[in-house]
Amino acid sequence: MYDTWKIIAGLLVFIGFVTHPFILSIGKEKLRPNVEINSPEIMSLPEGERKCIEPKEFMRKEHMKMLNKWRDAVVREGKTLYVNSEGKSFNMSLQNTCIQCHSNKSKFCDECHKYAHVKPYCWDCHIEPKENIKKEAKL
C-alpha cells in the first residue's frame, strides 16, 4: 500500500491516544471512595433520626438533579419549602440545609466526586463549610 509508514505511525498515535487512560493506570492502586458520613452534626442526632432529605439510594443517584430542581424552585419560582416523600418539610438550600448536616465536605462530598472526576462548580458561589474555605481566586 502507499504511505505505509505514515499509516502505521498514525495508527499507533491513535491507539495510544484512545488507550492512554488505561495504560497510565497500570500498577496504580484502585482507590475506592472512602465516604465518611459521620460528621459531628449527624452524630449529634439521635440514632433513629439520621435521615437525609430522601432515602440514601435515591440521594446517591439523584442528588444533583434534585439540587437543580431546588435551584429552579427557589430562584425562579420563589418556593422555599420542600416536602419530602415522608411528608417532612425542609428549607431548600445547599449551604443552609444540606451542609448543616454534611459539614465534612472533604471527607463526604469530595471523596466520590474525586473518584468520578466530577468538579461541581457550586462552590464558586455557595459557601463551603468551614473546613474547606480557600482564600485564593478559583476558576
Binding site: 432529605i53 430522601e54 435515591f58 439523584e62 438533579k65 434534585m66 430542581k69 435551584r71 424552585a73 430562584v75 425562579r76 419560582e77 420563589g78 418556593k79 422555599t80 419549602l81 420542600y82 416536602v83 419530602n84 416523600s85 418539610s89 428549607n91 431548600m92 449551604q95 443552609n96 462548580y121 464558586d124 458561589c125 455557595h126 459557601i127 482564600k135 485564593e136 481566586a137 478559583k138
Partner: protein
C-alpha cells in the same frame, strides 16, 4: 445505489454514525431531564410575604448620612457584595447619588440648591416593563409574579445586554472573582462568581422568610415597602397623600420605586 464508491460509502457511514450517536443521546438526555420518579413537592413557606406587586417609596427628606450608610452597609453585607475600590469595577446594589443626577429632567439652576445637592438612595427600580428582562437572551433575569425583577446567577452567561438595557445604571458586573474583595461573609447567602451580573433583588430571600428588605428595616421609616396593588398597604397610603416622582418616567419602564418630594 449500485455504483457507490468506497469514498462515498465511508462518508455515509461516518455521517450516519454521528447522527445516530448524537440523535440517540439527545433523545435520552431530553427524556431524562426530569427525575425518574418525581418524589417530593415544592411549596412556598407559610410565613413568606406575598404581594401582587412589590413597590418601594423613599422619602428623600428623611434621608440623612447615617441612614444612607446604614442601608448600603446592611444590604451589601448580608448579600456578600464585594467592596471594590476601583470605580471601574465596583459593584453596588444600592448607593447614593445627588438629586440633580438622579432626576436630570428636573435639574435646574434656579431651583433650590439644597434640593439639587440632596443625597438620594438609588437601586434597581424593579420596573413593571423592564428593558433588562426583555433583552436577556437566557431569561437569567426575569420578572416574578410578585413584581420583583430577579437574577438567576446559575443561568447568566455574562453577555451584559441587561446592563446596556437598564436606563438607570442599576446593574453591576463581576469583572473578577469577587471573593477576594469580601471581608466579612454572611454564611447564609452565597457569593457570586466572576462573569455574572448582579443587582438588588428586593431581598427576595428575606421576603421568603417573612421579613422586609434589609434597607427598609434600618431606614428608620425613610423607606416604605409594600404591595402597591393592595389599597390598604403603607405604600398606597403614602402615595395617595404625597407628591412622589419616579426616575425617567418618559421611558415607559414603569418603575416601582417612588421618591417622595
Amino acid at each position: 445505489m449500485s455504483n457507490i464508491d468506497r469514498r462515498d460509502f465511508l462518508k455515509i457511514l461516518g455521517v450516519g454514525a454521528i447522527v445516530g450517536i448524537w440523535g440517540g443521546s439527545f433523545f435520552e438526555i431530553v427524556n431524562k431531564r426530569e427525575l425518574e420518579a418525581s418524589i417530593g413537592s415544592y411549596k412556598k413557606a407559610p410565613e413568606a410575604l406575598q404581594a401582587k406587586k412589590w413597590a418601594m417609596v423613599i422619602d428623600i427628606k428623611k434621608l440623612n448620612k447615617k441612614i444612607i450608610n446604614d442601608c448600603i452597609e446592611i444590604c451589601h453585607s448580608i448579600h456578600n457584595v464585594p467592596t471594590i475600590a476601583n470605580p471601574k469595577e465596583e459593584i453596588k446594589w444600592i448607593w447614593e447619588e445627588k438629586f440633580k443626577n438622579v432626576f436630570p429632567e428636573i435639574k435646574d439652576q434656579y431651583l433650590s440648591y439644597e434640593l439639587m445637592e440632596m443625597p438620594v438612595l438609588v437601586l434597581c427600580n424593579h420596573c413593571d416593563n423592564p428593558p433588562c428582562v426583555r433583552v436577556c437572551p437566557t431569561k437569567a433575569t426575569f420578572k416574578r409574579k410578585d413584581g420583583i425583577v430577579m437574577m438567576d446567577m446559575h443561568r447568566c452567561i455574562g453577555c451584559r445586554f441587561c446592563m446596556a438595557g437598564c436606563p438607570y445604571g442599576a446593574r453591576s458586573f463581576n469583572w473578577r472573582d469577587p471573593r477576594q474583595y469580601i471581608k466579612n461573609e454572611n454564611k447564609e447567602f452565597p457569593f457570586r462568581m466572576k462573569g455574572v451580573v448582579e443587582k438588588c433583588t428586593f431581598c427576595y430571600e428575606r421576603l421568603a422568610r417573612g421579613l422586609p428588605p434589609a434597607c427598609v428595616e434600618v431606614s428608620q421609616g425613610a423607606i416604605v415597602f409594600g404591595d402597591i396593588e393592595n389599597p390598604e398597604s403603607a405604600v398606597r397610603k403614602i402615595l395617595s397623600t404625597n407628591l412622589a416622582i419616579r426616575r425617567k418616567p418618559k421611558l415607559g419602564t414603569n418603575p416601582s420605586v417612588y421618591y417622595l418630594l
